[in-house]
Amino acid sequence: MSDLVAKDLSMVFDVDTGGQVHALNNVNFTLKSGELLSVLGPSGCGKTTLLNIIAGFNHPTGGAVYLGDEEIKGPGVNRGMVFQQGALFEWLTVSENVDFGLRMKGTDPKKSKKMVDEWLDIVGLAGFGDIPTYQLSGGMQQRIALARCLINDPDLILMDEPLGALDALTREKMQSLVLKIWKETGKTIMIITHSVEEALLLGERLFVMAPRPGRLHKEYNLPFAERGVTEDTRDIKNSEEFIETREEILTMIWDMEEEIMGQV
């Protein structure tokens, strides 16, 4: 297992109207293997840019990211992605979607079939293998996306607002599922979210980012994720400590948003 290290990470975009936007400015952090990190921040603070750089879809204009000893220079199998909208291949069935990565590697179909069944079982979709994905609900599609990513056994799982498009009830169930998978597989997971509650619950560590220039504003170490594995998540969300932290972070983000509005 290997740690994720960001060193002096900067990202500057040229804007059409002239001038530049500092999406990221000197971001430094280390994510240890097996940690669960959630990243929170107002719109335009560079969360998605950070994730895209780690995934290898974009190249930083300054600094570098290392996974283990290797510098990240492009997309790779060792970093799995889960998107807001499943980004499933709708022309394939559920199991064909899940074993997409294995097929690309040329894994023996018999072996991969067994793995697909196992993973469908874990995400609670056993028996749905032959159904076309477009017939499934949003929550089920996100489960497929999760299974499709995990079957490749990545070192790091990157999630870009994975539960953003789901209804409240499904969202809670999925939060538990993410926690369960984190605990059972011991994977390093990085989740980007808009929801403060979700960030608190799904973050062993929590980065609050600030915009203009995009930077790490504050870091928290939180107990809720660990507790969420065993306890009922709704009880945790109602606990005094949870509410206190939530209000603190909400105020922080509100202030940032107001500052931006003021600038405009």
Binding site: A55, G56, F57, P75, G76, V77, R79, G80, M81, F83, Q84, Q85, A87, L88, F89, E90, W91, F100, G101, M104, K105, P132, T133, Y134, A145, R148, C149, N152, L158
Partner: protein
């Protein structure tokens, strides 16, 4: 093989016609009932409202067929097959009356004499205007004016009743009494008496209505027919006698003679002092010619005093009324069941005119279709769609390129001193590649339809094979987009037929040119649709595939290509339609087989049944292709628009 059906065409078409009308009535009642009973009908604008509705499909199809059967007079033929023959006799009488009839203002326009008078006066006024402008000497001027005045007097000499001589008047009276006599005969039940043996024989030899194109059996075959036929013959003599009558009264003839002298002396006068201006000389000559021409027309004596022909007109009206009443029910059958035209008698035969001519009857069209579908007959010695036994070698020749023989080392064998050629390996390879060997025969489709189909499919095939990859690359690479875009966008908007003359010149009138033309059409459409599909791929899908470890090649094949399938299939659907259109037009330009060729030959021969047959074949093939593509789309991309 369907000839026996044609024997009963009247019964079949009549039954179908009535059934179609019943279907329309049933479907309308059913539809109204459905609306009334479906209380939960969706609001306006809800697409659910357009679902279902087979009864409306039946109504639509029935309506088309009813219009076709009705306006092509197939219904008329089905319910009363003898009507056309009888109307042909009526038409004979009409065309016998018409020359006299058109002299009178019975349908529309002026009395013939009036319009002649107006025309001649107009000409004379124009000539009078010219007199001042032609630089005549005084003597010439007065001579010209005098001539024109004299001409006007001569015309008055014809229109004035006092000059009409008694012989002409007697001729008019004779015509009136002959027409009245004919009217009386028409009213007589026994006219013209029993048909002669010859007439009966001719009637028996009559073919059926429509057995030869749009010709109608001309020999009378019914009592009413005999009557009208005889009346037509008699009328013809009356007409020809009438047309010989001239207004040649002595006063008029004297004036004409005088006029001739006047014009001749004007001519000599003008020619005596021509002057030097060539244009004037020519114009003066024209002036004199113009005078001569007017005189020649006035000379015909076709203008009579205004009321001189009144009795003939009245007699004609009476005759017309009588022949209409003698037609009886036939007249209403003609108006009701034979819309959009009439049956007209020519000099030797009768034919359908109007929609009955250019819109062939469904039964005839089907018979023609059945006839040329017969591979033994076909069209221009080539079947529509059949099979042909072809040696397997021909296919080998087609598939294996001939140059592989040249790749074999060594030389071809030479003949030896005894004139014998011993084949070696190289020559054997060549024989194989050119299909020059004994082989079994396999059935291959052939025919006009197959040739057209093959051209479309070949053009489409190459268009897809080359267009889709290029389109995908253009959607993915800046170079391919920039490089190929101007090329394709420049040639695409040019209508394919504008390319046709050039391409047919380069590739010849065989299959190559047409296939290349269709390839051009299909290629542009496929490139554009594949490009749209490729650019429409959602970025997150590409990202997902990358992080799942797919290589660029795999992403192209497993993500971008399937993602573009809806656009590609829509492109194919459009391309098929455009290709058909282009192909038929190209086949009309050049070639010796294909549906377009058939239609073009039929057009030159005015063979409307074949024209409609090809139209129906094209329509059905288009429908078949579209249904096939719809099925393919439903079957292979049910996920379309659901990602």
């Amino acid at each position: 093989m369907f000839e026996f059906l044609f024997e009963y065409r009247g019964f079949i078409v009549g039954t179908i016609f009535i059934a179609l009308i019943a279907t329309v009535i049933w479907a309308i009642l059913y539809g109204r009932n459905l609306i009334r009973t479906e209380k939960s009908d969706a609001v306006f604008g809800n697409p659910e409202r357009a679902l279902g509705g087979w009864h409306w499909v039946m109504t639509g199809v029935s309506a088309i067929l009813i219009v076709w059967i009705y306006f092509s007079w197939d219904a008329a033929r089905a319910f009363n097959p003898k009507a056309a023959n009888e109307l042909c006799q009526v038409g004979k009488l009409s065309s016998a009356i018409n020359p006299i009839r058109s002299t009178f203002p019975l349908d529309d326009g002026f009395l013939k004499g009036t319009s002649l008078l107006v025309r001649e006066n107009k000409q004379l006024n124009e000539l009078a205007d010219q007199v001042e402008r032609l630089g005549f000497s005084d003597a010439e001027k007065s001579q010209a004016k005098e001539t024109i005045d004299l001409m006007r007097k001569a015309i008055i000499g014809m229109t004035s009743p006092e000059y009409l001589d008694s012989a002409t008047d007697a001729k008019f009276k004779e015509i009136v009494s002959r027409i009245d006599g004919l009217t009386a005969k028409l009213a007589d039940q026994n006219y013209p008496g029993d048909p002669t043996a010859e007439q009966i024989a001719a009637a028996e030899k009559n073919p059926r209505w429509g057995d030869s194109g749009n010709e109608i059996p001309a020999a009378p075959a019914s009592p009413r027919g005999y009557k009208f036929d005889a009346a037509a013959k008699e009328m013809k003599t009356i007409t020809s006698d009438f047309s010989k009558i001239r207004n040649n009264n002595s006063n008029f003839l004297a004036q004409v003679e005088k006029l001739k002298g006047q014009i001749a002396s004007l001519d000599t006068l003008v020619k005596a002092s021509p002057g030097t201006d060539e244009l004037l000389i020519a114009n003066r000559a024209d002036f004199v010619k113009g005078l001569t021409r007017v005189l020649r027309r006035v000379d015909d004596g076709n203008i009579f005093p205004p009321d001189a022909l009144n009795n003939i007109q009245n007699a004609l009206v009476k005759l017309d009324n009588e022949q209409k009443s003698q037609q009886g029910g036939l007249r209403y059958y003609d108006i009701l069941m034979m819309p959009g035209g009439e049956i007209r008698a020519g000099s030797s035969s009768c034919s359908e005119q109007g929609s009955g001519r250019w819109l062939p009857k469904p039964s005839d069209t089907l018979r023609t279709f059945a006839r040329i579908s017969n591979p033994e007959i076909g069209y221009k010695g080539y079947p529509l769609l059949w099979y042909k036994m072809k040696p397997f070698g021909e296919m080998v020749d087609f598939i294996i390129p001939d140059f592989i023989a040249s790749l074999v080392p060594g030389d071809y064998p030479r003949h030896d001193t005894n004139g014998i050629v011993t084949p070696n390996f190289k020559s054997k390879v060549r024989d194989f590649a050119t299909g020059n060997f004994e082989s079994f025969k396999v059935p291959m489709p052939s025919g006009h339809v197959w040739d057209s189909l093959l051209r479309v499919l070949a053009g489409l095939f190459f268009g897809i094979i080359l267009g889709v990859p290029l389109g995908l690359f253009m959607g993915l690479s800046r170079f391919s987009k920039g490089f190929f875009d101007p090329l394709i966008e420049l040639y695409r908007p040019v209508p394919p037929l504008a390319w046709a003359p050039l391409i047919l010149t380069i590739f010849g009138i065989g299959d190559d040119g047409k296939i290349f033309l269709l390839f051009m059409v299909a290629f542009a459409i496929m490139v554009i649709s594949a490009r749209t599909g490729a650019t429409g791929t959602h970025l997150s899908k590409i990202h997902a595939a990358h992080s799942l470890g797919a290589t660029n090649r795999q992403i192209l094949r497993k993500v971008i290509l399937p993602n573009s399938l809806p656009e590609i299939l829509t492109g194919i659907r459009i391309a098929i339609g455009v290709c058909w259109g282009t192909l038929v037009a190209a086949e009309m330009l050049a070639g010796t087989t294909g549906i377009g060729f058939v239609e073009n030959v039929a057009r030159k021969q005015s063979d409307y049944e074949i024209i409609w047959t090809t139209i129906i074949i094209l329509g059905l093939l288009g429908l078949l292709f579209d249904l096939m593509m719809r099925w393919v789309i439903d079957k292979f991309i049910p996920w379309r628009g659901k990602g």
